[in-house]
Symmetry: C2
Subunit: 350 residues, 2 copies
DNA sequence: CTGAAAGCGCTTACAG
DNA sequence: CTGAAAGCGCTTACAG
């Protein structure tokens, strides 16, 4: 247990004023003459006084902290580059503002709701981030009911009283499809995230739309849970079909990397015999061979902006929605024209 | 701002007792008759009373939270599988104990010390994790000076008053080397982490010791900053030497994956012409081709045990040091006998 | 410009 | 077994 620390009373005594005045001086409130103000600040410095956030929190009914609850299969959290970057962005805003981040990691959606409840019941946070939006997301209603400020990453489907900070991921998927079509691919598959997740289904729809615009059928879609292993399995399934694809657009990088690995293991040359694209722009995708063509999202900015918006809405402003620059397609080495220029896959070694 | 909530006074009034008694009943303290206890609990339930953690924190001088500060180059945090798993393990202990995790992510060591100071000055946490130990780690002294309970991951070099939770990583490195030697490799290199980091230099020493035991020279060592890109660069440097290796032991998975990618990009066949091992057992390493042979660490358990130890030392116990089961080498596909059985590298395509 | 006092919502000796 | 009161360390009307 940390040693005795001076309190506001000690400072007041040393400066020869009341506790109230110390508080006013500290918080730059009007009504303190410059001289007394200096005297108070000096006394505080001499004593090494650190105002107690605890006492302050009780008085002003604020936690000075924001809550993030991450609901992820422990298996998937490891490979996913999004949260570490997102959190780095959040912290970049919070630290200078004297706010802290309280993080809750839970295994499933049930525990997730409980975690939000607990966080606000304990008044551990003044606001919460709502990430990985789902269809009919119960967290919107819950946050409203708990009367806690929130910010959503992306627009929920259901009406939401909370500001949304969005990053268009459709454009990136469309660019990936266009790129592949431009290379001559006609059999392009999509390995999607779970349909219950908004970004899972939205990326899928973006894929389908882009295919339709190119006049191509978009029937080759496999739905997954976003796990790396799912990427390998989906690739196996797709490649075993008679109408197998010459290119696969994956909904995230870990699956794309695993799919690419599966293809190589089966004896296919990537990108010559199979082109592959990912989503998220993970660092490791840049370094595998062939380097993964992907859709880069700026998760750091997303975190920073979301934090700023949440802070503002806690402060009573009504920030409104924010649209971040859309995710961009980054072609690297894992995409190339199909071997057979007609677009028919040429497979060997299987 | 959340709505009006009942306080202990409301519960006391409804139950017809004093506030003090409500507190006693709530905290299972002796001196409350079963009947009144039930009456109080019922009143609390009727009112939907949630005791204010804030008020409680001020009274008992506790934060009911633990602090983790992660100091990582934003560039590296993304690919590293350790922290997400570690945090998942920590949360597994904290949630049932009613504790929260406050997370601070900082870019460098200077900001790191400031983050610890701030966390305890604000009394945001009752104890802190000290991860990624360095030589002469200033955090040990700082934590002692701040008088805050702490737990270190691994044993610091300098005398430390804090319990250590360690996982032997030497055995895994040694097993990797032994495996490679058994396959017939004689030119084995090591791509190490930064020497200032304890696990960086310890893994390096483990490598050197294992090589010495095998009667092999251990001169091929490149020091890096643990970034994926470093793995590629180190591999390039190593492969360009006249005495280039037939196998490389990397100090983490992201570097190993990047090194593997670099080798492939240069036209080398892995594992035939170059064997590669990683460290950390990341999910993605399992799915690339060839699947990465690696040293698996159980970061989840590490987090859980460290949290438990920290909680105990906050409670005034003196937990003592804990040794977790050592990291195990997991052979997969990225290691094989060298092409030329004499152990001399046979390189083509460069 | 400044002081004295009440209040935030708990816990915890101290009395009975 | 129970009550009344002080205390944790701040903030904030309310008076002067």
């Amino acid at each position: 247990m940390p040693a005795e620390r001076p309190t506001i009373a000690d400072v007041a005594q040393r400066a020869g004023v009341s506790k109230g005045l110390v508080s006013f001086a500290l918080n730059d409130k009007p009504g303190v003459s410059p001289q007394t103000r200096d005297r108070i600040l000096e006394a505080a410095r001499d004593l090494g006084w650190q105002p107690s956030l605890r006492a302050r929190a009780l008085s002003v009914n604020r936690a000075f902290a924001l809550g993030l609850v991450i609901s992820r299969d422990p298996e998937i959290i490891t490979g996913d580059p999004f949260y570490p970057s997102f959190i780095a962005g959040v912290e970049r805003e919070l630290a200078p503002a004297g706010q802290a981040l309280v993080l809750s990691v839970v295994p499933d959606e049930e525990a997730e709701l409980a975690a939000y409840r607990k966080l606000v019941a304990d008044r551990r946070v003044d606001g919460v981030f709502i990430t990985d939006l789902r269809h009919d997301d119960a967290r919107i209603e819950l946050a409203r009911e708990l009367n806690v400020p929130a910010v959503t990453l992306g627009h929920p489907e259901t009406p939401s009283p909370f500001p949304a900070v969005s990053m268009d991921d459709r454009a990136g998927i469309e660019a990936a499809v266009d790129h592949l079509v431009g290379l001559g691919h006609r059999h392009i598959a999509h390995v999607a995230g779970p349909a219950r997740m908004l970004h899972g289904s939205r990326r899928r729809r973006a894929f389908e739309d882009a295919m339709a615009r190119a006049g191509l059928p978009a029937g080759l879609v496999v739905e997954t849970e976003f796990r790396a292993a799912d990427g390998a399995h989906a690739t196996r399934d797709l490649l075993s079909r008679p109408d197998g694809p010459t290119a696969i657009v994956f909904a995230n990088d870990p699956m794309a990397i695993a799919g690419l690995g599966y293809a190589q293991r089966s004896g296919l040359r990537v990108p010559d015999q199979l082109s592959v694209t990912g989503f998220d722009g993970s660092d490791v995708g840049e370094h595998i061979f062939p380097a993964l063509s992907t859709v880069a999202t700026d998760a750091v900015s997303w975190g920073a902006v979301a934090a700023r918006v949440l802070l503002r809405s806690i402060a009573g402003e009504e920030p409104g929605d924010t649209d971040l620059p859309p995710a961009r397609f980054v072609p690297r080495e894992s995409t190339a024209p199909p071997t057979d220029p007609t677009g028919t896959p040429t497979r060997t070694g299987r």
